[in-house]
Symmetry: C2
Subunit: 239 residues, 2 copies
Amino acid sequence: MGVIERGFFVERAGDRIPGILWAPDEAVGPVPLVLIGHGGQSEKRNPNGLALARHFVRRHGIAAAAIDAVDHGERGPIAAIEDPAGHPDYIALWKRPDTFDRMNGDWKATLDDLLGTGLFDAKRVGYWGLSMGTMLGLPFVASEPRIRAAVLGLCGFAGPSAVRGRFGPRHRIDAPNVTCPVLFMVQWDDERFDRDGAFELFGALGAKDKRMHVHPGLHGELSVEASAATREFLAGRLT
Amino acid sequence: MGVIERGFFVERAGDRIPGILWAPDEAVGPVPLVLIGHGGQSEKRNPNGLALARHFVRRHGIAAAAIDAVDHGERGPIAAIEDPAGHPDYIALWKRPDTFDRMNGDWKATLDDLLGTGLFDAKRVGYWGLSMGTMLGLPFVASEPRIRAAVLGLCGFAGPSAVRGRFGPRHRIDAPNVTCPVLFMVQWDDERFDRDGAFELFGALGAKDKRMHVHPGLHGELSVEASAATREFLAGRLT
């Protein structure tokens, strides 16, 4: 099955949110849809996300869509950089009180627009987001009943990337409201989010139907096996 | 594919070890083999083990074999009982200094005999054992290079079922010597082995190629999904 890629924009509250859609070129009728939340200091069309989206289409017949997170990619100064301490604008993002609600609104408007096309099955929508894709995606999944299954993880309540308000207070409130089936991924040697804090986050998720896969490796070393399991999980729930 | 079930006995050091073999009825040439270690206060032909063995044969073309553990089933007074405090002979089993080495010897002799038939591929042998199947099976896997992949878990260094020498000193020594690929299973709400001690055991395993799957539920509540994952893992390594 071939992959059609096209850009789109979502207009919301004065914002113009850029996105990319990957869809099968031979779809007959509405197909399932997975929203992909990218990682921190990255953008909607990053190499891993691109490969993931194409696999969703080619191997599972599932469309995928990604948007630039607030201040990332085409929306601002934060792009792919190697500085582990963080871009100043990235640090600032987590100090602003409206970051989570803006992102929730952006995703909801994106989903509204995508479902409005009639190309996707509104009852078969999933979310995939690790690391910042969980930091910003967990509040979205918690508040959006149209998300029927989610892949979350590489994230938790402790570690260098959890500090300074980036992860914690809002997520403690929202985690019990994540009630759709969840696959939660942990890297045993994660240097950005401590494993104990990741386990605590898994425990806090409200979903009865949840499972956690743990693999050796650093934060950025998600294995082929682990990545495939995330796709298989969503495919199993949405197709 | 149909399943042939037949009993066998292994003679070793004056012991007569009873076992059961489940094999495909249509095998052409040597097939992979999985050794199944049963749980505590159970025996070689228990309902879960029987279903697992049949699934290995029917769905994967993999033969399975189980033996009664020391003092269990046909080998002694310990059988399936509901007493969570433990049969007195079960408690005594863990106080005897030779329990682990006896079981290692029993499994090695069983594997010798089974491979001697020529029915199985000596390069595609796996081990599957949870709970007591890990308590007794981990030392075996650590010492037996013919085991190419193992499913372990529902076990760890803490909790009511780990105390009194049942689990700990021997396993701390042996865990780093488990170097074959491992899938380690944890029940998040395990009332017999604390999850923290299970995580510690996972961390202690020497295998570089290891992964841990964690599901909600009590010790005895392994889900259909979790059980299927254990089969798929061994099938992926042995076929």
